[in-house]
Amino acid sequence: MELYLYIALFAPLVGSLYASLFSRSPKSQHVGIVASGLLFTSFVSSAILLSYVMGGHTVHTEMMTWIAAGDLYIPFGFVVDQVSVVMMMVVTIVSTVVHVYSIGYMDHDKGFNRFFAWLSAFVFSMMVLVMSDNFAGLFIGWEGVGLCSWGLIGFWYHKESATWAANEAFIMNRIADLGMLIGIFLIYWNTGSLQYDVVFAEVGNLQIVVVTWIGIFLFIGAMGKSAQFPLHTWLADAMEGPTPVSALIHAATMVTAGVYLVVRANPIYDLIPNVGIFIASLGAFVALFAASMALVNRDMKRIIAYSTLSQLGYMFVAAGLGAYWVALFHLMAHAFFKALLFLGAGNVMHAMHDELDPFKMGGLRKVMKGTFIMMTLASVALAGIYPFAGFFSKDLILEVGFVEHHYVIYTVLLVTAGLTAFYSFRLVALIFHGEERYKLFGIHPHEAYKFMLVAMSPLLVLAMIAGAFKMTYFQLVMNLLPATQYHIHSQTTFWIMTIGTQLFVIAAILFAYKKYANSGVSVPDGTSKMENSFVYKLLWNQYYIPKIYDEVFSKPYAELSRIAWKQIDLKIVDATVDAIANGIYKTGENTRHIQNGNLSSMLRWMVVGLVVLMTLAVAFSVGYNVVGA
């Protein structure tokens, strides 16, 4: 089985290296094919591992030593257990799909080969992240996906906004990584190891305050990667990257790493329910917060990105409340439908020549039937309509909130569910229904390549049926995660809640259709009353948070840096050194006239010297006699 493990892990790396060999050559189809093929190999290996793990085994291997210093021992160790194998499946499936899709999507891009190099490298990093058997290895993957994310967001490096977004994403993640790093330090100094098994065995013996800090710092790391408030701004900006990237990294895999971390570290979080509550509360807040921003946004990808953010909030609610398996389940389901949604959006973008404003689209269902169906279904799944994947995972989270008696969280999530349905179908309606506003811009949309649609189809299938595997999945992960079943005890309540939620969501969908699917959609132009309302503006400007960050952090930092250099470093620190040197030199300049070359004054100086010596002699001898020494 170790062989499969290594294949699953390194096949993407090989693909990446292969692609990077050609990174400077013009586009070559085989690069995409080879990379996709290797990804598929990785997927197959993962599947084999899954079946193996389902048999109740786990694979744990240690490839080699990485860092050994003092008592610290960090190997390149990998573990395939019930949790990581789920993640591996998600990652390999989505990434295989995205790879194949990208062959079509990036067809005309000059950086085709480079794109695959980065993309496969990302998958490799993600695999390291999920498969590692220790926190340091996790951190490697953690940073690795950050790097690839940087490279892919800034893939079109000639665009100022893209590179800016790339740097923003990297730096924001770094802020969180610091927290993660500190968490790792804490773990090491308190348990003496970074191996999951050792740490989790040891963590119960630690003081609760230490565990709390560990939990907090690790969660800070998770917050960055999963773009939780207040480190969320990078995710929306990250949409500057090519759309497959958004699908893979910023929807399905990387952003869920934070959730994975919390799930993985469940023995730690189990000990500190208070932190869990905080995580859940933050998750609920983010769910609502992000959904609210998605309501008014006019950028197709950003809307989906906010939706991702919102769903991540859901996952954190589950994880925070201790329902780790639920979180992981939603992660999985979400990966499928959200990736699908993004890829569909990618098709639309292609068709619309990279136009992102849904108000400039409309009526696309006629020319893009396949995409239309897929996106609609994905949206349905996202909204959580039975029997799609979203229903099983998302409803479960609501139930968890209810069962655990966190009614506020429950209510928030419920409202969010409605909002989600609304903005999802607002988007669908604006894109695919209504009049063909794009004609004004002289665009002739066309459907994407067939194989791209084919490539997307596994996701569609999974988005539709993933819910059916709920019990299989539960059986699988209960070996590793707390096997709490969340059932509302009263059947009546359960039904009322379920049906109520469904009705609420459907109502929201209908409202969205009613408002945006007809032909008379008013394109917002800043004149309508709604647009001038405070709330709209607040949402439109993303609660002014990017602006605040810019004003409070970026600009002052730049200014402070300038001051540090020009004022402090040059004018104080360096000037002091120079002043000492110059002072000595000036003293020389000012006193050299003592040596004026005049013999008379030379003689006088000698006498002065003598008189001074004599004066001191007299003074001293008087003192000597007085003291009588």
Partner: protein, 192 residues
């Protein structure tokens, strides 16, 4: 009593003479006062029983040294009033007086010592010159001989410096000029 009178008299005289020497602007006065001061000093030597020293003082100082200075004065044509630019005369006097005060401040305390022994005691029964001779040619033979060397050095130095060869400077001349010079400039035989 006689000793006291002589001391004060000659002390006053030397002080006055030397003061004139350093204060006057007339070179002639200065050198005359100087010579007089020297002679008065020899008087102290006689009072103190250092006859030999007194004689030397008169011969060497008043005879040789003063003669040399007089020669120098004539050479430098400084018999007229000497014009000197005075800079900060106050400092000069303050320093001088301070120096005097400091030294005197120490000197007013008598020397207390139980261990001073005359290593070369002055014997009453013999003349000063003889005693000096004895010491000079035993203990101080080496300094004496070295003094001879010193005088030789002074002589050579004086002659060389004042000699005619110093009128031209090979140091400043070009190589060509030196070569083109007739060989007469080469050190002449025994020309001192």
């Amino acid at each position: 009593m006689f000793e006291a009178i002589a001391f004060y008299l000659f002390a006053a005289l030397t002080i006055v003479m030397f003061t004139i020497t350093v204060m006057t602007s007339q070179a002639l006065y200065a050198i005359t006062a100087m010579a007089a001061g020297m002679i008065f000093i020899s008087a102290f030597f006689f009072i103190l029983g250092a006859d030999f020293l007194g004689a030397i003082q008169i011969i060497v100082y008043t005879g040789a040294v003063m003669a040399l200075y007089a020669f120098g004065m004539m050479f430098f044509d400084t018999t007229r009033d000497v014009v000197e630019k005075r800079t900060n005369p106050q400092i000069v006097f303050v320093l001088g007086v301070l120096a005097a005060i400091m030294v005197v401040a120490i000197f007013v305390a008598p020397v207390v010592s139980n261990n001073i022994q005359a290593l070369y005691p002055i014997q009453e029964n013999i003349g000063n010159s003889q005693a000096v001779g004895m010491v000079l040619f035993t203990k101080y033979l080496v300094p004496f001989e070295l003094a001879a060397v010193m005088l030789l050095v002074a002589m050579i130095g004086g002659i060389v410096l004042a000699g005619k060869k110093m009128d031209k400077s090979l140091t400043l001349m070009n190589e060509e000029d030196i070569l083109s010079m007739d060989d007469g400039f080469e050190p002449q035989e025994g020309g001192h």
